[in-house]
Chain length 207, copies 2
DNA sequence: TAAAATAGAGTACACGTGTACACTGAAACT
DNA sequence: AGTTTCAGTGTACACGTGTACTCTATTTTA
């Protein structure tokens, strides 16, 4: 029951996943990857691909899940840092920028497939981003005692701004990334301040 | 000198452009379009394509320019409406949503190519978005007497939020689009309020 | 009016693609 | 020990692709 076979299968499955991730870059999107290329990179015959995924879409959705995991891992890291004190906004942005730096291709995958041509991909990415947003929303409600609706609007706006900044930071050198970080921090402060002002009044919108 | 020939050429050039734009949809991106498909849709032999563009990339960049024009046209429309009175934020968002509704494929093109695999495309789209942002920045400085740096940060954040909302509004029915509009308006108010608060202090960041 | 230019069509080719199918050898089961 | 399962291979095929090349008909120029 040890499963020497299942074990090997899992291993080459990972090789396929890693091969796909490894081929992503600023000039190569997942949708431009071919089954044959991925199989070749993984050291497999093209037709062996089918032993693991029914088509490239299935591999792609697995990659999105993978990305979601990485993203949540990132959040845990950020929360740990915050608990040790410091500006919440600054730590969050810095953590996110570190994520971009060491997981550029994963982030690119999320960015691209979010506006891509597959409804399933778009849904998968949006689901991951929503988790991200809702966790931030909870945090804002607890930490800042915000009205629930206001907290959601703030969290949603903040995530949008940070993701957009991440996108800008992808193909840029360290100095520029620093600039982008500072700009983003300031913009998040605007939003936080604005939200705080409005949190007394009743806000009727929620999506 | 009337140029019956040049005239005809311009006409089929437009047919190519329109054919390409017409094939875009939520499940079809520009990069997935083939030269042959576009030529066929335009009623041309594949090889005749080369009489007008050296490759698909050149057509694509033309499309991005086209999109930029449409975007600026949109801004003019918004400004006219604003001059006739009303909430600036609300009118801007409503105008933008109208744009999405009637130019969905053009907006999709911008969204996708902004994070696409061609550096030239990304640069072209970012240039158009920057124009958009700078015009808003000027407006904010004049209308709200804001500090130049704060105005830029606000404009940049606002454009990011609005574009993201546009992306969310693409594949959604009228009611949901209305929801998104209200959410966006409120978020823009947060930013405006926050920026106004900060505009007294000195802000050191500018990108 | 004769010559040159050129938008567009048609043919042809090499290439990369997804995948159907038959096969192999080793692991897993009975 | 004998049988079954199955991850991985190799071959083969039809298809869509970009584009080089030649030819044609018509406009433009000289």
């Amino acid at each position: 029951m040890s499963g020497i076979r299942a074990q090997q299968k899992e291993k080459t499955r990972r090789q396929l996943i890693d091969a796909a991730l490894g081929q992503l870059s600023s000039e190569r999107s997942f949708s431009s990857l071919s089954l044959r290329e991925v199989a070749k990179e993984a050291g497999l015959a093209p037709t062996s691909f089918y032993r693991h995924f029914s088509d490239m879409d299935e591999l792609g959705l697995t990659l999105v899940d993978e990305a979601g995991l990485t993203l949540r891992q990132l959040m845990r890291q950020a929360r740990q840092r915050i608990e040790k004190g410091g500006s919440v906004i600054q730590i969050s942005v810095v953590t996110f920028m570190e994520f971009i730096e060491s997981n550029g291709n994963i982030f690119r995958l999320l960015l691209r497939e979010r506006s891509g041509t597959s409804a399933a991909f778009r849904a998968a990415v949006n689901r991951e981003v929503r988790y991200f947003t809702l966790e931030l929303c909870d945090y804002l409600q607890q930490a800042n005692k915000l009205n629930a609706d206001v907290a959601f609007l703030q969290a949603d706006a903040a995530v949008t701004i940070v993701f957009s900044a991440g996108s800008d930071a992808l193909d840029v050198d360290k100095d520029d990334r620093q600039q982008i970080s500072m700009r983003t921090i300031q913009q998040l402060r605007f939003i936080a301040r604005g939200a705080a002002e409005f949190s007394h009044r009743v806000v009727k919108v929620r999506t």
